[in-house]
């Protein structure tokens, strides 16, 4: 077949590696079953292959490196959901997909089927370097400076079964962006890498020590301009300091952010520079040839559009108000004339954020073939992107999405809620996240209301592990347990863009129903006090949270 657009093309070396890795996992499963490995020994190994034991069953998290996959891979995900699970999958905030009802016994076979389309579950969990995330508009966005996928793939390969960094104190998440506007939440990752062009090749700005969880932290800049050839050496050095000195006595203090806080960013930088000064740089040099070899595995789409593509698109918009509205919220400017990027919302009013049935997954694969060079991306907002759509065909695509029930016009709006699986699935949860997300999205379901409210992001986590990134939500909800009852704590003012900030707690936690009403009152208050053109965050920073606290806790 032709090289896939959008992601790295495997060759026989990559495929042999995957086959060996699956044999290794099958060996581990067999040793677990016969008792040679205890559960405590097996657990880190199954996690490194994305296999959790959750509330109801095993859960398998499949990697979608830098969020990009092709239609053939997408169809395989549908196939896995149909054959081994309950006919649906859940797209995660780390651009992966997880299946909730998997059997341990089936897992080697599932991994082999995934490998048949060059997919895997390697390092989607565990205390190792996790699947690398990137910009969902990589290679398409009008504002992009460097396509981050090439370096994301380089980091994926470098981190795969890394001999030194597979038994870290804790998980380690990397994100790579190549755009001046941060769409990857670089400052909320253990390491965030932002690429830009320099006079002699690509330069990398590196943030370290960001993260969510119990102790949220905004990453700090450790280096402003790392040269491409030093990228791997620099990351090795950052990880060496962490692996040697990160805390191992308390899992809540084991992330790199705690070490960066404890040492201070300047001391951390000094320690990294001391490593670099001793390193055998030749061993870690990322040469132009190596980069070119990876780049050559990415096929480029032919982005020619008819000269009247934009005119046709504008005419369609003028004729169809619903299409026009959807275009306003669910599209993103493309670098090529006559093209546009589309975000397909997986957040219907009252739905489960990020869930997709196998027929929707298949349907999206078909639409990718018809409209976007057979390529799809998963976003960290738990939506799906078709990155390269010709503008004159956008209206057709919109109608096809509508038939699949996937034309919700709410991307970036109040009902585009990010929620973790919560207590309905997760063994660590305090509260259910999904039902409250469903209630909120139903409450704000009216497209006209949402558009009037404007950009407002709600994030929900079922416990302090913060998988729903509530710290970074404009409105964040955190599930807490109060004497066996589910309560929610509200935070305001979080954001993950260039001005990354952690939301601040508004007041005492509320029971679920009161929380939904309180959020509705907060939104109403914003509508009544905002000045012309102000977003929710603008109003919040102008007036502080007092008016919103008053609204939230006002008793009817």
């Amino acid at each position: 077949m032709n090289a896939p657009i959008g992601h790295y093309q495997y060759d026989s070396v990559d495929r042999d590696f995957l086959a060996a890795r699956i044999d290794e996992f099958a060996d581990q499963v067999a040793r677990r079953i016969d008792g040679a490995l205890t559960e405590d020994e097996f657990k880190p190994f199954r996690l490194m292959n994305g296999l959790y034991l959750q509330l109801h069953a095993y859960m398998l998290r499949v990697a979608i490196p830098y969020g990009t996959l092709d239609s053939r891979q997408m169809r395989m995900l549908a196939e896995i959901a149909r054959t081994y699970d309950r006919d649906y999958g859940h797209f995660t905030t780390r651009q992966n997909i997880q299946f909730n009802w998997i059997r341990l016994e089936d897992t080697p076979e599932i991994l082999r089927r995934l490998a048949s389309v060059d997919m895997h579950a390697i390092q989607t969990s565990g205390n190792c370097i996790r699947n690398v995330t990137s910009d969902q508009f990589a290679g398409a966005s009008a504002d992009e400076l460097v396509d981050p996928r090439v370096h994301a793939e380089i980091l994926r390969q470098w981190s795969t079964l890394h001999p030194e960094f597979t038994f870290l104190p804790r998980k380690f998440k990397l994100a790579v962006s190549g755009s001046p506007e941060d769409r990857v939440a670089a400052r909320f990752h253990d390491v965030g890498v932002i690429a830009r062009p320099g006079p002699d090749g690509t330069l990398f700005r590196i943030f370290v020590g960001g993260g969510m969880g119990r102790t949220p932290a905004v990453g700090k800049e450790i280096f402003d301009s790392v040269r491409e050839e030093d990228l791997l050496a620099t990351l090795e050095a950052i990880l060496r300091v962490y692996n040697a000195h990160g805390r191992r006595d308390n899992i809540y203090k084991a992330r790199i952010k705690i070490l960066v806080e404890a040492l201070g960013i300047d001391a951390y930088r000094e320690a990294v520079l001391a490593e670099l000064a001793q390193m055998d740089m030749a061993l870690y040099r990322l040469t132009p040839d190596m980069v070119a070899a990876i780049r050559a595995r990415f096929a480029a789409p032919d982005l020619t559009a008819p000269p009247d593509a934009t005119a046709t698109f504008e005419a369609d918009r003028a004729r169809h108000p619903a299409f026009d509205r959807w275009t306003r919220s669910n599209t993103h400017p493309h670098r090529a004339p006559g093209y546009i990027s589309v975000t397909v919302s997986l957040k219907p009013a009252g739905g489960i954020p990020g869930d997709a049935t196998s027929s929707q997954i298949d349907g999206l694969a078909d639409l990718a073939d018809s409209y976007s060079f057979g390529e799809l991306r998963i976003t960290h907002m738990q939506n799906v992107v078709l990155a390269h759509v010709r503008q004159d065909r956008l209206f057709d695509l919109f109608q096809a999405l509508d038939e699949l029930g996937l034309a919700t016009p709410n991307v970036g709006l109040v009902s585009d809620i990010i929620a973790c699986p919560g207590l309905d699935y997760c063994a660590l949860a305090n509260s259910r996240s999904i039902p409250i997300a469903q209630k909120l999205s139903a409450r704000f379901g009216d497209p006209t209301l949402q558009e009037e409210v404007g950009r407002l992001r709600i994030n929900i986590s079922g416990c302090i592990n913060a998988c729903g990134h509530h710290h970074a939500g404009h409105i964040g909800l955190l599930g807490v347990d109060k004497r066996g009852e589910e309560f929610f704590q509200i935070t305001l003012g979080g954001r993950s863009d260039n001005n990354a900030a952690i939301g601040e707690i508004l007041g005492p936690a509320l029971p679920e129903d009161d929380t939904v009403d309180a959020i509705a009152r907060i939104v109403d208050r914003y509508l009544s006090i905002r000045e012309l053109g102000e977003t929710f965050l603008d109003t919040l920073s102008r007036l502080g949270d007092a008016p919103f606290r008053e609204a939230a806790y006002e008793t009817a």
Partner: protein, 103 residues
């Protein structure tokens, strides 16, 4: 997992785990068998539950992560915490996946 569960008035303990091979939730009956439905779970006092926990062999019995759950006795018993009710009866957001309770 080691600390004994404190029981409220009239509550009992039942033992639960996940089956190693398929991960499914199971409950231990009076004969020491692991059953998929909570209906059959043996409803124990703190001492008997503790003894059972100490003497059973998870590896041999094909289960992982054995622990005790406080319940209001009855048929089926009703777990005290939301978490254990979700484990026993299925996710609240997918009524179609509710755990079938055998008679």
């Amino acid at each position: 997992m080691k600390r004994p569960t404190r029981l409220g008035e009239g509550q009992k303990l039942i033992l639960t785990a996940n089956r190693l091979l398929d991960g499914h939730i199971v409950w231990r009956d009076a004969a020491g068998q692991w059953r998929p439905s909570i209906t059959h779970a043996a409803q124990l006092d703190t001492d008997t539950a503790q003894t059972a926990l100490e003497t059973l062999d998870a590896q041999k019995e094909g289960v992982v992560g054995v622990y005790e759950v406080a319940v209001h006795p009855g048929i089926p018993p009703s777990p005290v915490s939301v978490r254990e009710r979700i484990r026993a009866f299925g996710p609240t957001v997918h009524p179609e996946f509710a755990t079938e309770l055998e008679p």
